[in-house]
């Protein structure tokens, strides 16, 4: 989750009010922001990913001052058209089709504000921008740019400019290979025949999104008063939302917003568009979902606390809010404004009859029978190394692999449970014997289901000690099936994990249920065990089905 550190003094000056820490803590929590800690002058917050507008001091102060009643309601962000245009060439369609741009003028920047602007850009890149893949943001001092600006895609070798923090001009391709930002984000341009660039009227490259700005255009500094902002990516509404978040923060810093004409071929879009969104809101819906009896009069005040306007049964949602998809999102805002703590819990709805999953019940009965024999239940993972299931078991059982395991120790799904139990025994050689264990869990194989994997519930038992032999394990199996009232036969079988001639397959009603036997000394050696083991594994889903008939 994205975090931000706020300066308490700056926050208070933005809100125009000082608030005691305890109250601040409580109010921030009630707003729906996770407060990590307040330490001296620093407030560390965790912001949920649906509120990218809170990732700046300005945005957070705006929301908190609404919520605290200092300045509730829909904020006005007047936008004046500038005479400037941005031309988007069709060449970008294949690589990075859209950009939304804005001009903010009359800014007075100092070190703190510049640092804040850079931070906003970084936070948005990292969260809302999905690490620049979804949105890449560029912020430029407008005085270094000669409009009109063009957004086009050019072959990597035909792009040549001096990237930021670099000593000389290099090509687009070279930037990906040599510049740190190129190496970090170059994968986003993988396979592209042309790379996108912003250029100005003089043909100077302003930047190559999502990688890097040009050194000539430079960064904004204390001298900058006018700023050009662009957001490029693949979904225009997403870019607009991101742009509006940045522009609103800049406007809160005192800037004046100017729009540009974005020329997409013959289509012209005005950007930024700060028109509040009109979202119809049904009072009945609000009351039904919240269990309240709010009246029409209550709504404007509650919405205002969350920064929205209200007009004729519709909420007016500010342009920098990316999280209002459905009127239910406004219902939550109203609940937050009302105060979750003010909602009296209501007794649970009518009674229903509970029921246990029959198979769960069955497993509990199996466990009861086995603990009655003095067996100790273990609880093993479903992930295991393919080596432990196959090579170490002297078996070539087919296994389902993980595509992206985090370690070789856990790179497959278990096809059977005996290896997991042998692994437990191997880690307990310093404890007293006999060690008689069982576990219930899932075994995975490839199969014709909607996932391509079939899952069966298995029971595995291991007896480990000087007297762990075929008779002993068969006695356990026999006891279990006898208590369940299941008749069975045992047939000799060949199984490379067991001692030849000491392994049997268990059948009930002509269905193979599992196998049991004395584990092969080679397998024991592979697990570094020096005590004989007799093992049993049964498909209990199969057993359960049998009992249902």
């Amino acid at each position: 989750m994205p975090t931000i550190t706020l300066n308490k003094r700056v926050l208070e000056s933005l809100m125009g009010k000082r608030i005691p820490p305890a109250q601040l803590q409580e109010r921030i929590s009630s707003l729906g922001v996770a407060l990590e800690k307040i330490e001296g002058n620093e407030i560390l917050l965790e912001v949920f990913p649906n509120r990218p507008d809170l990732l700046s001091e300005q945005g957070f102060a705006r929301a908190l001052s609404s919520f605290l009643g200092i300045r509730p309601g829909l904020r006005e962000y007047p936008v004046t058209p500038s005479k400037h245009i941005v031309i988007i060439s069709p060449s970008v369609a294949a690589v990075r089709p859209y950009t939304a741009c804005a001009l903010v003028q009359g800014l007075r920047l100092d070190d703190e504000r510049i640092a804040e602007i850079i931070r906003i850009q970084e936070k948005l890149h990292g969260s809302y921008g999905r690490d620049r893949k979804r949105v890449a943001i560029g912020i430029y001092p407008f005085e270094r740019i000669t409009p009109p600006i063009t957004f086009q895609a050019l072959p990597p070798d035909e792009i040549r400019f001096r990237p930021l923090d670099f000593s000389h001009a290099i090509t687009g391709r070279e930037i990906l290979a040599q510049h740190p930002a190129g190496r970090a984000y170059g994968s986003l341009l993988a396979g592209a025949e042309k790379y996108p660039v912003f250029t100005d009227a003089k043909g100077n490259v302003l930047s190559m999104p999502p990688i890097i700005n040009s050194h000539e255009t430079g960064r904004i500094d204390a001298e900058t008063t006018d700023v050009f902002v662009e957001c490029s990516g693949f979904q225009y509404p997403v870019l607009q939302a991101c742009l509006n978040i940045i522009v609103a923060a800049l406007a809160d810093m005192g800037g004046r917003i100017h729009s540009l004409e974005m020329h997409y071929g013959k289509t012209k879009r005005i950007s930024p568009d700060f028109t509040p969104r009109n979202v119809p809101l049904s009072l009945d819906y609000v009351n039904a979902r919240l269990g309240l009896r709010l009246s029409e009069q209550d709504i404007p005040r509650l919405l205002a606390a969350m920064g929205h306007g209200y007009q004729k049964r519709s909420a007016l949602v500010p342009a920098y809010r990316a999280d209002i998809l459905h009127q239910i999102d406004l219902v939550e805002d109203i609940a937050i404004a009302y105060g979750y703590g003010n909602l009296p819990p209501q007794a649970p709805l009518g009674a229903t009859v509970g029921s246990e999953d029959p198979f769960s019940r069955f497993q509990a009965k199996l466990a009861e029978l086995l603990t009655g024999l003095g067996l100790l239940e273990v609880n093993t993972y479903h992930l295991i190394s393919a080596a432990a299931q196959q090579g170490m078991m002297c078996s070539s059982i087919p296994v389902v692999l993980l595509h992206n395991p985090s370690s070789k120790e856990y790179d497959s799904l278990r096809a059977w449970m005996l290896p997991s139990l042998l692994d437990v025994l191997a880690r307990n050689t310093h404890h007293e014997y006999p060690q008689n264990l069982f576990d219930l869990g899932t075994a995975f194989r490839r199969g014709p289901t909607d996932t391509g994997v079939t899952e069966h519930q298995h029971l595995a038992v291991v007896l480990c000690g000087e007297r762990a032999n075929f008779t002993a394990i068969r006695q356990v199996m026999d006891y279990l099936l006898r208590m369940l009232g299941v008749g069975y036969q045992v047939r000799a079988m060949e199984h490379t994990s067991f001692i030849p001639g000491r392994v049997g397959e268990i059948y009930a009603a002509k269905t193979a249920l599992g196998q049991m036997g004395e584990v092969h000394p080679q397998v024991l050696a592979n697990f570094k065990l020096e005590m004989p083991v007799a093992g049993l594994e049964i498909d209990v889903s199969g057993l359960f089905s049998l009992l249902q008939k």
Partner: protein
């Protein structure tokens, strides 16, 4: 409690509740008496003490004087170390002796010392293998299994003692035994005698003949080690002295009641040796359910009591059911390789099949479908939805059950495994259990959700519950649940809750019916009960831990 005692051979007396003795039988012997100890600790009288003596105690007690050293007691009784230890402990419990433990520098046997004690010193073995006159060195070495060092050392030692003569023969060096040598073999050396005694020994208490052997053996490699060791000495108490004086032969008492004694009724002529019932006995362990499963059973019980039906389903799921049906956008970070386990072979991810419902879900993702939502305004890729993963939450089961649900109201729960692509560390598991419940009811609202949460967590043992706004991709409104921890005396976050979004319920149920939901991770919620601070300890499967960890009693 009453006691009967044998006082000498003549009268039998019974001590009444008021403390007076009452003479009961004038005829002595043929009455069986059961003797047992009522009073705790040190108020035993001599006869009670004697009567309760175990055969080992009877063997050991006579060898204890003013101050007897443990090794000496072992030597005198010829019992095993552990038997003597036990006897001393019991005698001490009965107040007949006191045991002093002193950690001091003591002489202990080294690796070679242990071996030579059992097999014989190399020079003795050397002497033994001298067969006749001028036995070649080689044959001695082979016969006695001596290492080159041992051979060399023995040669030097024996020559110094004048026990052998060495000659150079055609085949090489040869050795003959002398008269003193023969004597040494017959009587044994001082060093052998020293080794044969019990250890550890107090260097301050060596006798003269021991001192010589000690100095000699100390010079040799790995035979003796002087290091801090516990020297135990036992001394008689007044009670102990009195007991010895009274005579502890005993022997008329019986250790065990046998079927034969019962059948023959011979028990009537016997006394049963009284046990010291205060002594602890070795612990046994039994079969048990794994402690996490014990806790899970309790939680499932709470749901059942509240009238919820248990859900079940597979661990492998398509991304469709795990994520898309829950309106998680396809570019959400949680879907990435670093957060979620996908099935496949490293080159290709395994693909599954999608239900017809996929079309409705696609609409909702792209433009909100019929819900009135904007949706994610982004093309929905079917291929991504087909990818098979290990379920990241049990909410996938809720999605499946909702898609099949025909009648409401309905309430469901599950307690099951979920998977996260995490590296194992003290706070993270890649496989853990989630607890989750949903309520499907057209009349349900946020206040009901709060009511359910309060009831549920109260049943879990937390009487104070509160919520604050939060965010999950598939619920709106969403909340984080906090409970007041009675021991920590602070609010701790215990889970999440919310109402499923219309974008979730509409495709699955056909229309936007409120579904209340809440859940939490099982592991973190039970670690305190078992005094565990490292989450991996829950699944360590250490047998000692499993045998001894406390039972889930709630």
């Amino acid at each position: 409690m009453s006691l009967t005692g044998n006082v000498g051979q003549h009268g039998h007396f019974r001590s009444r509740a008021d403390g007076n003795l009452e003479e009961i039988f004038r005829e002595a012997p043929s009455t069986t008496t059961f003797l047992y100890l009522a009073t705790p600790y040190l108020c035993m009288d001599v006869q009670e003490a004697i009567a309760a003596l175990h055969p080992l105690e009877r063997a050991v007690l006579p060898h204890i004087r003013e101050s007897s050293r443990f090794p000496d007691i072992v030597a005198a009784t010829k019992l095993k170390d552990v038997e003597v230890m036990r006897a001393l402990q019991w005698l001490s419990n009965k107040g007949l002796i006191t045991i002093h433990e002193d950690v001091r520098e003591a002489i202990t046997l080294g690796e070679n010392g242990q071996r030579y004690r059992e097999q014989g010193l190399p020079e003795i073995l050397f002497l033994r293998h001298i067969t006749g006159i001028a036995t070649p060195l080689e044959s001695i070495q082979q016969g006695a299994h001596l290492s080159p060092e041992e051979l060399r050392a023995s040669l030097g030692l024996l020559r110094k003692k004048g026990a052998i003569t060495i000659s150079a023969e055609k085949q090489g060096t040869a050795v003959s035994i002398t008269a003193p040598g023969k004597q040494m073999l017959q009587r044994g050396s001082l060093e052998s005698a020293f080794l044969a005694q019990p250890f550890p020994r107090d260097p301050a208490a060596l006798r003269d003949e021991d001192r010589y052997a000690y100095e000699e053996l100390k010079k040799r490699k790995g035979i003796l080690v002087v290091k801090p060791a516990t020297l135990r000495t036992a001394s008689l108490t007044e009670l102990g002295k009195a007991a010895l004086q009274a005579g502890i032969k005993g022997g008329r008492s019986v250790e065990a009641l046998t079927p034969e004694l019962i059948r023959s009724r011979a028990w009537r002529q016997k006394t049963f040796r009284a046990y010291d019932v205060r002594s602890p006995v070795p612990a046994i362990s039994g079969g048990r359910r794994h402690f996490v499963r014990q806790a899970a059973a309790y939680i499932r019980q709470i749901w059942l009591e509240m009238g919820f039906q248990e859900m079940s389903g597979t661990l492998a799921q398509t991304a469709f059911w795990d994520l898309d049906a829950l309106f998680v956008p396809q570019d959400h970070p949680a879907r990435q390789m670093q957060d979620t386990f996908y099935l496949g072979d490293g080159r290709q991810v395994l693909r599954g099949t999608l239900p017809p419902l996929a079309d409705a879900v696609r609409s909702v993702h792209e433009h909100g479908g019929k819900t009135g939502s904007t949706g994610w305004q982004c093309p929905w890729d079917r291929h991504l939805a087909e990818e098979v993963l290990l379920r990241t939450h049990t909410t996938v089961l809720s999605a499946r059950y909702l898609s099949q649900l025909k009648e409401f109201p309905a309430k469901f729960f599950s307690v099951g495994r979920v998977f996260r692509n995490e590296t194992l560390d003290w706070k993270h598991l890649f496989e853990l259990n989630q607890v989750e419940g949903i309520v499907v009811d057209p009349d349900a609202n946020l206040r009901h959700l709060l009511g359910y949460i309060t009831t549920f967590f109260t049943k879990l043992g937390f009487s104070q519950v509160r919520v604050r706004p939060a965010h999950f991709p598939y619920t709106e409104p969403s909340a984080e649940v906090e409970v007041f921890h009675p021991l920590k005396k602070s609010w701790i976050e215990l889970g999440g809750a919310g109402i499923f979004r219309p974008e979730v319920t509409a495709p699955l149920l056909g229309k936007d019916i409120p579904v209340l939901a809440w859940g939490f991770g099982l592991e973190r919620s039970i670690m305190d009960y078992f005094s565990l601070t490292d989450i991996r300890d829950l699944y360590r499967n250490d047998i000692k831990q499993l045998r001894e960890i406390r039972q889930w009693m709630r």
